[in-house]
Symmetry: C2
Subunit: 201 residues, 2 copies
């Protein structure tokens, strides 16, 4: 084959450009340049911009979901589960730092499709919701509903990635290394924060 990795190079380039510019702002030409190839070759591998976007986006997403599903199944003590969820979520984010912004855009662009995709992948929250409610009834955690807990968790994990260009400037004098360290610390900080907030000791 001419090159098996051309397709991969395109996907890499597309990730870069899509996250930098968003689906609409991204230009096929820019993706081609970034990948070091001709624009027509893009359409050889992915016949439309929409298809390229979908393959990139849902490709990455489908790698996140299984690991989350796995965690929700575990039957550890609840305090450990908090740690596991934060760890898994955050570790994925640090490997795919562009993903949150990606998802946010897609949430607004085509929420229906995204929602359907998640359902198709078997991701639904009713089990976890029951578990949380159970823990509350049992008095193991302070009274909180699942949606609130979920929004809190996701918000805390995701915000530093979404807001990085601004936060790094405003809070760390645009020092990239310091920000990386900040991101590393967050896993422990968030876990402790949630535990202190909801665990009845």
């Amino acid at each position: 084959m001419g090159s098996d990795n051309t397709k991969e190079k395109i996907v890499q380039a597309a990730q870069l450009v899509f996250i930098r510019k968003g689906m609409d702002g991204a230009r096929m030409q820019e993706i081609a340049d970034e990948a070091g190839i001709n624009k027509a070759l893009l359409h050889y591998y992915f016949h439309s911009k929409q298809q390229l976007f979908n393959e990139v986006f849902y490709g990455v997403l489908s790698r996140l979901i299984p690991s989350l599903l796995e965690i929700f199944k575990l039957e550890e003590p609840f305090s450990d589960k908090i740690e596991a969820v934060v760890r898994e979520y955050d570790s994925f984010m640090s490997k795919n730092p562009f993903l949150p912004q990606f998802i946010i855009n897609e949430i607004n662009r085509d929420p229906e499709q995204l929602s359907r995709f998640m359902s198709d992948q078997g991701l639904n929250f009713s089990k976890i919701e029951e578990r949380i409610n159970g823990e509350v009834s049992a008095g193991n955690i302070r009274s909180i509903t699942f949606p609130h807990l979920f929004a809190n968790l996701i918000g805390m994990v995701v915000m530093p990635y979404i807001g990085r260009p601004l936060f790094q400037r405003k809070l760390f004098n645009n020092d990239s290394a310091k920000y990386d360290q900040f991101l590393q610390e967050r896993r422990a900080v968030i876990t402790r924060f949630i535990q202190q907030a909801i665990l009845t000791k």
Copy 2:
């Protein structure tokens, strides 16, 4: 005057379309339609898309910042301050539910300009950072650095707005009224969550 409110109608329409589609996805024609006017009239009031976007975006933003500055000045007990910040931030969000998405986009599109604007408006965090550190030293709150606390707070407040199209579907059967109620509850929930997490009682 032909109409003093034409400009206002345009701004309203632009907010709507920009948030729905983002700066790049938005079409001047769509904004014109939404405002019930001719496309040329847009360029009569705002000579370019970029200018329209900036006026809309920074217009809204400049209304948020002063109220936040005000709060940071207050010298109440810390627990009340938490409540005040959450209240002010959240109340602004509920009046401008499109703002978070707006800011997120801008953070990626032109972080430098955004950062400069915030500085120009007198928004800087060193004072608050000192205050937080002081409270930690004094033993009033558990050990946490300002950036972490800040990211936690913003994340929790903002996430339900950013994620609404998805969250509403997945967590509330796409019931809009229920989601509105959820948003209303969050102010109290977040305040309590933070207090329990960091206040040494």
